[in-house]
Symmetry: C2
Subunit: 264 residues, 2 copies
DNA sequence: GCCCGCGCATTTACAGCGTAAACACTTGTG
DNA sequence: CACAAGTGTTTACGCTGTAAATGCGCGGGC
């Protein structure tokens, strides 16, 4: 019963212990009633996970915490900043993940692999929050979604530079890596959402209109089962490994400078 | 004066004629006053491009069109559907782009290249709208952002299958391609946004606090200029070519079946 | 014991939002 | 002229984010 399915997605919430909890449990000894920023952000994440982003209003979040909406304003400047805090909070789960390291102690590939899976775990644990992670404007050009934290940017660059990447190559790798992560995970959670949401289509003759409008797209119809197949985990792995391979080429090429490169 | 800078980004709005206009100009002969869905969607895109997504309200859009908010409801069921229409409208620009073909008449690589640049042109022309394109939930698992149209999915799959891809390979290519496009373009427009928005930081001593808080991240500080550099165009090209190369391998491998594959 | 401030939550209030419903007006048709 | 259809406006309601005033309980000086 507790033995997980060997074919299960190792990053999916059910496939792991409790490593991706929304909030790492308030400081031990904190009673029940006290309102504070940490508890508010945790409740907000919980609420979004449960009811979706649009359903989150200050009043409802207050009610969820057993408090009036205005009480929240003592700990959070406003709704926008609350959402910023939610994003930050969710990304902070990375620090609590024992499988993700801040330094490349076992090689840069291992480091990037663990980081990618850590972020993926977060995305899958909070599919309703992740689009927010992706679309909130970054504070500076160099802090990109989905990492969103200077500490991770620093760690990323250090890991690669320590492993022999030039500064330029490390920066290029950072950009390629973030855009890969963002694109893949955003599509993955949005695909996950679509499988659930067709419950708002309780029509009479269910597929009559749909089928006719699909008539013009025979290939889509024919490949529907292939297209609907969820191979996200395998595709993630493959794309990630391809990216790492590509970076490896960059690394070794930068170590053996090619013709036309003057001195050094 | 009209000669574009040879180093300019060919997909940037300034670098081209008028191929990426928001709306292909209402049917010729349509007077000025008449309200209709097309005009409303066009005005909405215009408004979002000018003032951002959050600033778009039914009342303000009505005012922008010289009309009361409620008048819009005769042509659009509600705000959500208006946004859906905006997304659809923006993506429809692809059909008007003479550089993007619906069939792979000059090879699948050419087809994918043109398609990618067409979508990139749209993203750059409407940076405020693009996150919407990326995050609106798709209607079905197989219609993914950023293409968002059955016709494009059909065209994509046909192009690849006609070029020799197996059905499985075509579907896999479709997924890899969409996630590449989405990730790269989303980061590109969000980076574009951050360069503009620091105008809401007219503080007294501008970088005093910022510098101190950056003190813990020496690598980020040292590489700041590299990190801020905008090489989106080149990186897009490189990542796209890498993806195409990867797909080419898939294609040729599927043509010469490997060991262990029974018959054929 | 008393009272005072002070930290926290509530109450009240307001402008703006999306949108349902009733209304007024224009226009083509008999 | 009457009428019907189509289009835009008015009015109204419940909900939103949030500024401002209000109430409340608790720990320390007198």
């Amino acid at each position: 019963m507790s033995q997980p399915d060997p074919t299960a997605d190792p990053d999916s919430p059910e496939g792991r212990g409790g490593a991706a909890a929304a909030v790492p449990a308030a400081p031990p000894g904190a009673g029940r009633a006290g309102l504070d920023r940490r508890r508010i952000l945790g409740a907000a994440i919980e609420y979004i996970d449960a009811h979706g982003l649009n359903a989150l209003t200050m009043r409802r979040l207050g009610a969820h915490l057993g408090v009036e909406a205005m009480a929240l304003y003592r700990y959070v400047p406003g709704r926008e900043q609350l959402l910023d805090g939610v994003v930050e909070s969710v990304i902070d789960e990375l620090y609590g993940d024992p499988d993700v390291h801040l330094a490349a102690s076992r090689g840069w590939q291992d480091y990037l692999q663990r980081l990618a899976h850590g972020v993926r775990r977060i995305a899958l644990a909070h599919p309703e929050v992740f689009p927010l992670v992706a679309t909130r404007p970054p504070a500076a050009p160099w802090v990109r979604p989905p990492l969103r934290s200077l500490r991770w940017v620093e760690s990323f660059l250090d890991a690669l530079i320590d492993s022999g990447f030039t500064e330029e190559a490390a920066v290029a790798a950072y950009r390629a890596y973030s855009s890969f992560l963002l694109g893949h995970l955003l599509l993955e959670v949005s695909q996950k959402g679509v499988k659930i949401s067709p419950l708002d289509q309780p029509e009479g003759v269910p597929d009559a209109a749909a089928s006719t409008e699909l008539g013009d797209y025979p290939t889509v119809v024919r490949l529907e089962s292939l297209l609907s197949l969820d191979e996200s985990a395998a595709e993630f792995e493959e794309a990630l490994e391809n990216l790492l391979g590509r970076l490896e080429v960059v690394l070794t090429e930068s170590r053996t400078p090619r013709r036309g490169d003057p001195r050094s």
